[in-house]
Amino acid sequence: MTTLTDDVKDPATDDASHDGHAHDDHSHDDHHHHIPKGISRWLLTTNHKDIGTLYLWFAFIMFLVGGAMAMVIRAELFQPGLQIVEPNFFNQMTTVHGLIMVFGAVMPAFTGLANWLVPMMIGAPDMALPRMNNWSFWILPFAFLILLSSLFMEGGGPSFGWTFYAPLSTTYSGDSTALFVFSVHIMGISSIMGAINVIVTIFNMRAPGMTLMKMPMFVWTWLITAFLLIAVMPVLAGVVTMVLTDKYFGTSFFDAAGGGDPVLFQHIFWFFGHPEVYIMILPAFGIISQIVPTFSRKKLFGYASMVYATASIALLSFVVWAHHMFTTGMPVEWEKFFMFATMLISVPTGVKVFNWVATMWRGSLTFEIPMLFAIAFIVLFTIGGLSGLMLAITPVDFQYHDTYFVVAHFHYVLVTGAVFSIMAAVYYWLPKWTGRMFDITLAKWHFWCSLISVNVLFFPMHFVGLAGMPRRIPDYALQFADFNKWISVGGFAFGLSQLIFLALLVKACRKRGEPVSDQVWDGAEGLEWEIPSPAPYHTFDTPPQIK
């Protein structure tokens, strides 16, 4: 490894009057030493670190907004009867909660991490397409403004579930549907641009000697995720457009009266939707594969098999979509095909979990905050994976389908899976980003409160689901009352626990805390740990040599 030549001077030495001319002379070598000040820094930025920060803060704000909606849902479900909201508004809350958490929180958070980390991990100075990078972030707030503002329309926002099954979302939906479709289009464009950027960066800007099979796992998993995004986001765009034309322009893609088929909607939606769930978990696998070796002080076990497992999961994700649709009335041969294909996914997923455990095996383990989140991820994601395996079995899926058992399953993989991995990642790389250690006491509080409350929140959902409580209902029969009370208490506790995280992040961004070394964590390996802490505004102007 070379010594790093990039040693950026304090940007404040730049003359303020230079601001207006900054973009006239961008061919000058010294241009990049200049960090614009104030709002224009963030609006006009093409810097991968700034854009990464924007994505991460945006995702966190959306996480709180979507979480607030979950609180409304849990408040209504605290006891049987209708007490706080009307059923129509309840349905808007479940719908928009889902859309915001998927498209506004988890996906942008991963894109933010990719922005920060991919260039630093492969020794590139920035993302390959920095202006598109700016654009792909800045259209996102508008997409969510449109979606959220639809809640204030007469008749309210979308209320047909985040899966927007036709004809509930076409013939029987309100006029907010047009806004919903438009905002989903913008989210999709943003994701596709982000994915293109990741692919081009990884393929063209790796430092000399960084072969594909030397790339860190986070880079690998994001590369594969980016291909999934490019493959399926256009499918989502297609299906929302068909909803739009069915509703407003007289087509009948999903209307049997005009020769269409409502089940066609579900096939198209889940052809997007299943790869989408891997889009939300593959980068998480990457993060865990970075963190576990660091705190085990041992190389990742089975690097090559990790890469192949990720690729197999991605490929298999295209042939399992109809396991979301077993009750729609498919031929029995199809049901078998989708059941077997779905079961097969547990093989590469199992390989990943076994590899993490084998990495820890005979290591020299310590349990700093990122490792605590990583271990919680491995256990709780595996619980979600095992309930997924149960759901794959078609005959029993008929019983589980559309009950709280499914709600429990996907919250285990998405909250204690994807969201916990994002938190682990933030704790792991935050000292590198700010140059200072975060408040460890607050972090411990955050971890323990989250871990306990998230299980009180989601674990009993397995029970009420098996006992027969359908999802997406604002009121329920009396035998579900006790568990629902606990679930709501867990929900409020989990929501409040995230305010600890907010306080910690605000403190970290205000540069409080002890300065950290370049390596930050004893045992951390990789290019990002060889540059100074905090990471300078520009890194790797001269590519490092990888041996």
């Binding site: 099954y165 059941m339 290591g363 359908p470 999802r471 009121d475």
Partner: protein, 381 residues
Amino acid sequence: MKSLKCLVSTFVLLVSWFSSAQSAAERSDLNLRTGVTDISQQVYSLHMLMFWICVVIAVLVFGAMFYAMFKHRKSAGHEAANFHENIKVEIAWTVVPFVILIGMAIPAASTLDDMEDASKPDMTVLVTGSQWKWHYKYMENEVEYFSVLATQREQIENKFNKGENYLLEVDRPLVIPTGQKVRFLITSDDVIHSWWVPDFAVKKDANPGFINEAWARVNEPGIYRGQCAELCGKDHGFMPVVVIAKEPAEYAQWINEQEQIAVARKEEEQRLLAMNMSMDELMKQGQQTYNAVCAACHQPNGEGLPGVFPSLKGSALILNDQQAHIDIVVNGRAGTAMQSFSKQLTMSEIAAVVTYTRNAWNNNTGDLVQAKDVNALMQGE
């Protein structure tokens, strides 16, 4: 290390919670019901098989991990080993799960074949979902009726105490015989619904414009309750399914009675055509019907939900056009949530509800609509 101990004890707590739940596996508030058909019992066994396999996998994987966390931690002075691959182990943990999967797939596929074989039924019921009720039609008999939530609005709004079968009770349950293979043909008049009776292990989507099949052979007489399982709009949570299984002889008696009642009702309807009801009678009957059938969308005060369901109070259609008013109740309006009520309501009920909505909430048109006016419109006059 303190946080490590906390972490482990939390997981131990979780596991013990899970296993204590297991010892109570028979409790219906914790686990799937075994149900009352051979199929539902097969499904239950399959579910328990899957569950225990998952528990064993979890114990092995987490056990290995927690062992490493205790024994191989730095604070205990453990030095890291240097291995990072082992082809034999990696092949083993790819192949072994694959073999376990085959072990799961075989019984699953065979149960699935049984479930999906709806051939040679003893009788058939057509189940049609619509917002937010079920309609049952006995294909071998002249019997059909709607089945609507029977829980009082006041219970839902927390004004009255909630009854034992809160939200799981209907005015007219489906009745089927025990010991016979009953085929359900399932479809919908509007959005997608899903007809679900957990005790039969039957859950099948009701797709508008298409017909799905399911079947059950119920072993024990009893009352079995389920719900609509697919989000179908505002009152998705208020669309229960109740099925009563009777001994075949009892069932035969019941279905005969129903056929006679149906004939009598038709005669009664014809008789009422010749009669005129007074304003008071119409308003009283109309309010009853309105609250039972119309108020879910248009609300008890007639004001609807702005932007979702139109207001009837001061509605131009109601105030200006009596024929159009009767027509929309009888035939519904295509492309909207307004469905046809000609099947669900009798002509005199339609007449009463139209009269009611034309005169309630200061609509005050003063118009009386009689059953014969409805009949005239239905006959195309």
